[in-house]
């Protein structure tokens, strides 16, 4: 099954949606489709009910956190220096990331095809963390979307029961985010070293360490 044809099929059948191919550089060559959040549900519904190969089985749902990352690239430009044209290396800073991503691995049990990997991205990592829930289409996403909400803080609109799954009610942070700071009140641990030891020392006073 060719992902390019799936993409064309979606574009022809779901009006107004923006589908991008996300290429995967690793030898696994599992490329994926990036769908805009507004049309995410319509695209998923089409993949389940209308596509040539119907994706009736949603195997895996997961989140990925991409915090803002500054990438510096050196670009060679021509500049006039003292009236002479010279090749100068200029550092261009671009920003990437700054969103949460949810990845769905879809398979077809009937046709034994797959995976079609669908990704959706939130606007940012603070207020705009809303994505459409695909649980009404695939029940298998129910617990997995709850888990993504629990660990990453993605709000799934339309989820029937969006509560924390693994952490307890009343827990405030989202532990799988890259910038989550885990508690440093470690118990006394005699073989601590490096970072753990340093953080333990910072947390406990000298008497406590004994």
């Amino acid at each position: 099954m060719n992902l390019e044809t799936v993409k064309q099929e979606i574009e022809a059948n779901v009006p107004g949606c923006a589908v991008d191919m996300v290429l995967n550089g690793s030898p696994s060559a599992q490329h994926s489709l990036l769908v805009d959040a507004a049309h995410g549900f319509a695209v998923a519904q089409f993949l389940r009910d209308g596509a040539a190969v119907r994706m009736d089985y949603c195997s895996n749902v997961t989140g990925i956190d991409w915090p803002v990352k500054e990438i510096s690239t050196k670009v060679k430009t021509k500049k006039m220096v003292d009236g002479v044209e010279k090749d100068v290396d200029e550092v261009v800073k671009t920003q990437s990331g700054g969103y949460l991503e949810v990845v769905y691995h879809l398979y077809s049990v009937a046709e034994r095809e797959g995976p079609v990997i669908v990704r959706m991205r939130t606007e940012d990592r603070a207020a705009g963390v809303h994505l459409p829930s695909l649980t009404p289409l695939w029940r298998s996403a129910e617990y997995q979307e709850r888990e993504v909400f629990d660990l990453y803080g993605v709000m799934f609109d339309g989820h029937p029961d969006l509560r924390r799954l693994l952490m307890w009610e009343g827990f405030e942070d989202f532990p799988m985010r890259r910038d989550y700071v885990d508690p440093d009140d470690y118990e006394y641990e005699p073989t601590a070293h490096d970072e753990v030891l340093q953080r333990t020392r910072e947390h406990w006073s000298a008497e406590d360490c004994k």
Partner: protein, 205 residues
């Protein structure tokens, strides 16, 4: 007939019960601790440090490279490298661990330390009756408690230890020859040869 299936099942239970008096295969339990099963050779539980010769301090193979400390998944190893060098079993001056602690209540017996050690200095033990009431006194093993002789290693894992001994002997012979060849050429530093051998072995892992 209702109950026929249950009766059929019960005859099977009865066969096992009476069978256990005559058939060893049906009697599978042993009366621990009076009776013990034979040790399976590959068994592993917690790491120990191997030393050559008689004296554990002199013969310790560990040169405090701290690879195992870094690779240990639950971070249960703590090593302090020595400031000075001492001659090892073959007489070469080497660093040694000033402190080598393993917290076996944290250790998960994965034996990754054994896999990554380039000097065959850390191996897996087979002792298992380690329960104690003293969390830190009994389960935090220091350098001395961890050190066990190569003979002990040969006793618990004969096949594996035999292969390690053969490889080590071959390597030491090679290092000796290389040193001899170099000595004939010029006057090299002995430590440099050992270092080269270590790098070479590291590359094979």
């Amino acid at each position: 007939m209702l109950g026929e299936g249950i009766l059929k099942g019960l005859t099977e239970t009865a066969r096992n019960f009476f069978g256990s008096y005559v058939d060893d295969e049906r009697l599978t339990t042993v009366q621990y601790p009076e009776e013990r099963l034979e040790q399976i050779e590959a068994t592993r539980d917690f790491p120990f440090l191997v030393y050559d010769g008689e004296d554990w301090e002199k013969g310790m193979r560990c040169v405090s490279c701290q690879i195992c400390e870094k690779e240990c998944p639950p971070k249960c190893i703590s090593i302090e490298k020595s400031k000075d060098k001492k001659p090892d079993a073959t007489g070469k001056a080497q660093f040694y661990p000033a402190k080598f602690d393993i917290d076996i209540s944290v250790c998960m017996s994965c034996q990754i330390c054994v896999e990554v050690c380039p000097f065959d200095a850390i191996k897996m033990d087979v002792v298992y009756e380690l329960s104690t009431e003293d969390r830190f006194g009994g389960l935090l093993l220091n350098k001395e408690q961890l050190s066990k002789s190569n003979e002990y290693y040969n006793k618990i894992h004969p096949t594996e230890a035999g292969a390690v001994d053969a490889a080590l002997a071959a390597e030491r012979e090679k290092a000796r020859q290389a040193a001899a060849a170099k000595a004939a050429e010029a006057k090299p530093a002995a430590t440099a040869v050992v270092g080269a051998a270590a790098v070479e072995r590291d590359g094979t892992k």
